[in-house]
Symmetry: C2
Subunit: 278 residues, 2 copies
């Protein structure tokens, strides 16, 4: 039983018979937008907590794991990522990590719900510290339409940093979207998508990999990593490359980049690539 002398926010995952609760000091924001309901809480031990439609998006304490693993394994796997597109990612934490790479000339973020970014600016300012970088372009629009209209071969990296595959993000897990991403990537380009829990969502991961295969990607890898605030605490990103192979980072290049991380290293990258898919 959760102690009743304390307020709690609980995320219940009915399909996994599992729930996670955080003790809460205060409810900082509650907004109904055109797309979803967004809440921000002050927790007692995890900093701020953002919730969309009842599902935890991030906490101050542990988001570094997700944001590093959604960006660095892909950018260090590409020889020279210059043109990067993020679909979703409204908290701007992935954008911040991408812009740590000097090779990046432009990082466009297409988030459907502007309020996610406005609330992140207010409650997670550390994640938004690169939003004013001249290489950053923040667009609030439908990612599906954006990628449909993208010029073929115009991108080096596409990162799908989305909510779960229900609600506004559902189309981001469909085969048409993945085929559009394939078309928009240049030769050697890499597509990466958050792909839920290797323990709880094996069927979904299989579907994501199947979409990638059908779209024509030549190498597909699912990378596991810890992510405490998501169900099971074990999460994944699935990468797909348009011609060519996915590879762990060259340690010399990582060290020369000067990028400071709290979780990601070239060896962690290699280990994540070894995640066994059932």
């Amino acid at each position: 039983m959760l102690p009743s002398n304390q307020k709690w926010f609980t995320e219940v995952n009915k399909e996994a018979g599992y729930g996670v609760s955080w003790s809460i000091e205060s409810h900082l924001a509650h907004e109904k937008t055109d797309f979803q309901t967004i809440d921000v809480y002050q927790t007692t031990h995890w900093g701020k907590l953002m919730v969309i439609d009842g599902f935890v998006m991030l906490t101050t304490r542990d988001n570094f794991l997700y944001h590093e693993m959604m960006s660095h394994p892909t950018l260090f796997s590409h020889e020279a990522p210059r043109r990067v597109l993020i679909i979703g990612g409204g908290d701007c934490g992935t954008l911040r990590e991408v812009l740590r790479h000097d090779s990046v000339e432009r990082c466009t973020q297409v988030e459907i719900d502007e309020q996610v970014t406005r609330l992140a600016e207010k409650y997670f300012p550390e994640l938004c510290e690169r939003n004013d970088d001249p290489r950053a372009e923040l667009i609030f629009d439908d990612g599906l339409a954006h990628i449909r209209n993208a010029e073929p071969g115009s991108l080096d990296v596409i990162i799908v940093d989305s909510t779960d595959p229900i609600g506004p993000a559902e189309g981001l897990f469909g085969p048409e979207f993945v085929a559009d991403c394939y078309r928009a990537l240049a030769d050697g380009g890499i597509f990466v998508q958050q792909s839920e829990s290797p323990l709880l969502h094996q069927h979904l991961i299989a579907g994501i990999r199947d979409n990638m295969q059908r779209a024509g990607f030549s190498d597909i890898k699912t990378l596991g990593f810890p992510q405490p605030c998501y169900p099971s605490g074990w999460w994944s990103a699935t990468q797909a490359r348009k011609n060519g192979q996915l590879a762990p980072a060259d340690p010399a290049r990582f060290h020369a980049s000067g990028i400071q991380t709290r979780y990601y290293t070239p060896d962690v990258h290699r280990g994540a690539l070894a995640t066994i898919m059932p």
Copy 2:
């Protein structure tokens, strides 16, 4: 809120303002032993769940992660592990993994509470399938006394597969015990201890590493891995070697061993060794 039309078992971690809940079909066992209270539940989605003094020990669904990572990184880091001691480990899952290594001539398990093993035999029989191996020796006794009386230099590997550092396991996190383990190990021997969450228990991990350093171990490494049923879902084991270095597995040796794993691989091992300690 947890749905009230369903029974739940909740573990609350007050120090982290955090709780995890599993939906429960039935309460299979409740035993008060001389040492602790043990409960076993049938969950709806995670198989069986064993709880000691209110803290989750293991579930059927995810224990493979912990048991593989408590055994293989250490056994594959040692050139020829013949004599292995497990302190704790009453569910016998670590014992099963250790005995997959053909080089092991004897694996002694010293569990203080025989009822843990008796309940594991009944509710987690798959973990106990090697208990009748002629190389296995199951002793129900105090691990602290056992190691104090061990012949110096008589062991190649010591695995501390204990509960949290409160209650019966407290002494297993003290400097005297670690010094006794150092003495009992042969040259090149490896000591490994479950060391809680890299996110939530950094202070504890620092203490464990400090004990190892003071005992005279020459190389110390903390390996992170996902473990959904423990707080934060991100767990660790800390290894220490008596003379010599800790190294990831030789892939050729791993493949030649024929050991089938669901998480561990030599690359996962290398990645775990790269865990950044704050």
